[in-house]
């Protein structure tokens, strides 16, 4: 009889705490469950290809370039390198680029040189014509870009070279007057802001945000601890639920 009363008291105790824990943990467990379902199907839902652009969330994550932007400008067009992403008037040209050393306009075509690449850009269609990598360029790193007698002129660490405007082939030149390297430009605030916005536009996938909500990492160590507590609460709910069920059968 005494043991029966004790078992019933324990069952009631378990049931009461099961309710209390359930009510308190309902919200965080619901979030963890829903985000967990989303994380099980990231590609089907396109979570990895959707990028967050809201400034508030990007600021929260603290996405800032590791180095100061480097800029060249030609008339009212701006070429900006942020870390290894190269933008022309806010449009991404390359996200594995090196320092730009030259930026010239030839009619509607812009020719851009970094240390190991050339970019031909069609200003009319606003599209990249071609990115020419080091395998199709003369040896050495490019130091300066110019134009003379209708041909591109390159000053590289391996000497001087020229090419037709389409950069289809290069020939060595014996030049006494080499192109002069362009000096980097001071970025106006609006150009800097536009370039930074373009740089940040693909930094944060929705999948990462959902994952950080799921783990609590979105709110730092406090969030992680709260999710840990919710997980422990789930364990207690399971144990108390099983116990209450077994005693009330």
């Amino acid at each position: 009889m005494a043991s029966g009363k004790r078992n019933r008291a324990l069952a009631d105790f378990s049931y009461r705490w099961h309710r209390r824990i359930g009510v308190c943990a309902a919200a965080p467990l619901l979030i963890v469950a829903l985000t967990g379902i989303l994380l099980n199907h990231p590609q089907r839902l396109g979570l990895d290809s959707i990028h967050v652009t809201r400034a508030g969330i990007l600021d929260w994550y603290g996405f800032t370039p590791q180095s100061a932007p480097v800029a060249l400008h030609q008339e009212n067009h701006w070429l900006v390198l942020i870390d290894d992403s190269l933008f022309l008037d806010g449009q991404l040209l390359d996200d594995a680029a090196t320092v730009p050393v030259g930026f010239i306009s030839l009619g509607s075509v812009a020719v851009i040189a970094t240390r190991r690449s050339l970019y031909l850009f069609d200003g009319i269609s606003q599209q990249l014509i071609e990115r020419i990598g080091s395998e199709a360029l003369p040896d050495g790193s490019i130091r300066a870009l110019g134009i003379d007698e209708g041909r591109l002129q390159l000053d590289t660490s391996a000497g001087a070279f020229s090419a037709p405007i389409d950069a289809s082939s290069f020939r060595a030149e014996q030049r006494s007057a080499l192109p002069i390297a362009q000096t980097t430009s001071e970025l106006p605030n609006d150009v800097r802001a536009k370039a930074l916005a373009a740089w940040r536009s693909d930094k944060l996938s929705l999948e990462k945000v959902v994952r950080d909500i799921h783990t609590g990492a979105l709110f730092g160590s406090v969030g992680v601890v709260l999710v840990d507590v919710a997980a422990i609460a789930m364990l207690l709910l399971m144990l108390s639920g099983l116990y209450t069920w077994s005693k009330r059968r």
Partner: protein, 181 residues
């Protein structure tokens, strides 16, 4: 005696330090890795004497077919390649997760002869550089739907990199076919 409050704090502190250490290592893990330079790959592909490069324009049909193969509009209006006899060599980039993977592809008689990962820039998934993965592309060609006619096994933990290389293989075959027309 065992002090529960201190041990709990100790465990939590250690966990936080490990997390911080992992985060600190992340930037180092993102550095670019060059497995083979583009120049070396071209030299190897043509027995030490690579030809001058040529370019192929991406006309409307080719651009449309390429967009289906890549899952996006191809970057640029033309693509550079190297060709000698029936062999063409393409050096192409495709985003894995966030950064481009520079890949060299050799095509001969409409079939892939070699796929080589030249530069890898992601923190995870570089297993695609190994022969056990790239050898699968040998003798692959395009079927009537402009897809690879061979099944390519994936690599756990490198899904996006695997997809990128598959796309580039199909793209290279499309380009080679257009080149020969």
């Amino acid at each position: 005696m065992f002090n529960r409050s201190l041990s709990g704090k100790w465990i939590h502190g250690v966990a936080l330090q490990l997390l911080a250490l992992l985060n600190a290592c992340a930037p180092l893990a993102m550095a670019e890795t060059v497995y083979q330079s583009r120049e070396e790959f071209l030299s190897e592909a043509f027995d030490g004497s690579p030809p001058a490069s040529s370019t192929i324009e991406l006309n409307d049909v080719l651009r449309r077919d390429a967009a289906k193969a890549l899952g996006h509009t191809p970057f640029g209006q033309r693509v550079r390649y190297w060709q000698a006899g029936k062999r063409s060599v393409w050096i192409l980039d495709e985003i894995g997760k966030t950064k481009p993977i520079t890949t060299g592809i050799i095509v001969e008689n409409g079939q892939i002869k070699d796929v080589r990962i030249l530069i890898y820039r992601e923190s995870h998934g570089s297993e695609v550089r190994h022969d056990f993965f790239t050898d699968q592309f040998a003798d692959a060609s395009l079927n009537e739907q402009n897809r690879l006619d061979k099944s390519i096994d994936g690599i756990s933990g490198a899904t996006l990199s695997v997809q990128a290389i598959r796309k580039l293989a199909a793209f290279a075959l499309l380009l080679d076919r257009a080149r020969t027309k």
